[in-house]
Symmetry: C2
Subunit: 268 residues, 2 copies
């Protein structure tokens, strides 16, 4: 059982990822494919006259403000367009894919974060009406039901709150949570760099192997920005029983098979 996460940002060759995932499914592997949606959401939000708003948290991190309208645009782009175009491509390649969001069958459930504590023009503010959260529960039964019947689940990074509201969630954490719930052999997180780098400016400085016990210290030392979330998701997944997490390059041909062969940063 393999979980593959790809997309969200720019630079990834999504068609190559999907084609490669299809090959692996046809070799008899069970695969769950998790995708992103933030870039497309930005594009569509602009066109619909509700431009994306990024805010800075008290701790200095930048994140999207997901108000209700943004959530609905995210449903359109991630759960609608991106999810179904991946399903269409997989079907063309002979893989019987089923697209889901975390709302469907309460696949991904979490607590809603209703407000963001932000810093704007040097002032501290509380921004209400936020629709995001952290995943606390995965409906593994629904994924197993589909996998055992021969379907390949494709998952959009949205969850449902305990009060049954849609939530925007981080795709890397979705892959980690699903990996843990299914006790997957490998979680592969494809990105637009070769893996975790010692020096973010030098793609040759790839860290090839991290023992599970040292993942947190590597995280503190080398992970910056979005990579921090990827490695943090990896740490959690390994603690929860996933065999290996591989952070690998999603820009090349056959990115999934390369990652399986050990290219990238292998954690655990």
């Amino acid at each position: 059982m393999i979980i593959v996460k790809a997309g969200g940002g720019e630079g990834l060759d999504m068609a190559a990822v999907v084609a490669d995932a299809a090959e692996i499914v046809k070799q008899g592997q069970q695969v769950v494919l998790v995708h992103g949606g933030s870039h497309e959401t930005n594009v569509v939000s602009e066109k619909l006259g509700h431009p994306p708003r990024f805010v800075t948290s008290m701790s200095g991190h930048s994140s999207r403000y997901t108000d209700r309208e943004t959530l609905e645009i995210f449903l359109m782009t991630a759960a609608g367009k991106i999810n179904k175009l991946i399903v269409e491509q997989l079907q063309q390649l002979g893989v019987n894919a089923v697209g889901l969001s975390g709302l469907d069958g309460r696949l991904l459930e979490g607590q809603r974060k209703e407000s963001l504590r932000i810093v704007e023009n040097g002032k501290r503010k509380i921004l209400r009406g936020e629709y995001s959260g952290m995943i606390e529960k995965v409906n593994a039964g629904l994924l197993k039901l589909l996998l055992e019947a021969g379907y390949t689940p494709v998952v959009a990074p949205l969850a449902i709150s305990t009060e049954s509201e849609g939530l925007n969630v981080d795709g890397d954490r979705v892959a980690a949570a699903i990996g843990a719930a299914l006790q997957a052999d490998k979680v592969i997180i494809l990105t637009n760099v070769p893996g975790l780098l010692r020096d973010i400016e030098d793609e040759g400085s790839l860290i090839k192997q991290i023992p599970a016990a040292q993942a947190e210290s590597y995280l503190d030392r080398y992970a910056k920005g979005r990579m921090k979330r990827k490695v943090l998701g990896a740490v959690e997944a390994l603690q929860d029983g996933v065999g290996q997490v591989i952070i690998a390059d999603g820009r090349a041909e056959k990115p999934v098979q390369r990652a399986l062969a050990g290219e990238g940063t292998v954690i655990g």
Copy 2:
């Protein structure tokens, strides 16, 4: 087993339909809910700078021209926003809904109609690049798998072609095809009139009962415009083993329970 179709056009109280369907599910009935998407697609298409285009066929019927861009907008609005907002509402009402499009698991499969023969400014033309079709095959196994596990499927009116391309399909025909594939007891088609009317100008002229054998002659005599497709779908569904088709008013409170009690036009 009941199939409920609602929405697409304006005037329907979709929240009331969904709430009523939830009550019936909680009474222990298996329900498949089919929705539309054309109105929302028109709105979003305009905003995205790709306004909807309606054309007139040789036989004088008006229909949407679904080019590839329109298909992708339809995926966003119908399979993304509308489908997932219904799933969210059902979850809030305690029903474990799973949203699907006809692409997922090849739920609805058909032949693609690649071109439209149209009349424009009095001239006959062939318009290519069309992505629509008629449903020829339903993956009843996927619906049964979900229903038997306690999930309530919510279906967006898109299908997949034999060449695995997404297709825009008519929601009433989706309900009829699913009803036939599942050998449903009843297919309820909710609309913004009380049912089939003898006189389209007079809502008091409702035809209350049509024997299955006479459905085609009533169709010829009384069905106009969109109602024609609804009654045609009903005729097909009855021929394929559905118990009853009820065309009923979707504007009232408890529209599904009213239809089940015999309000509307009961065919078969």
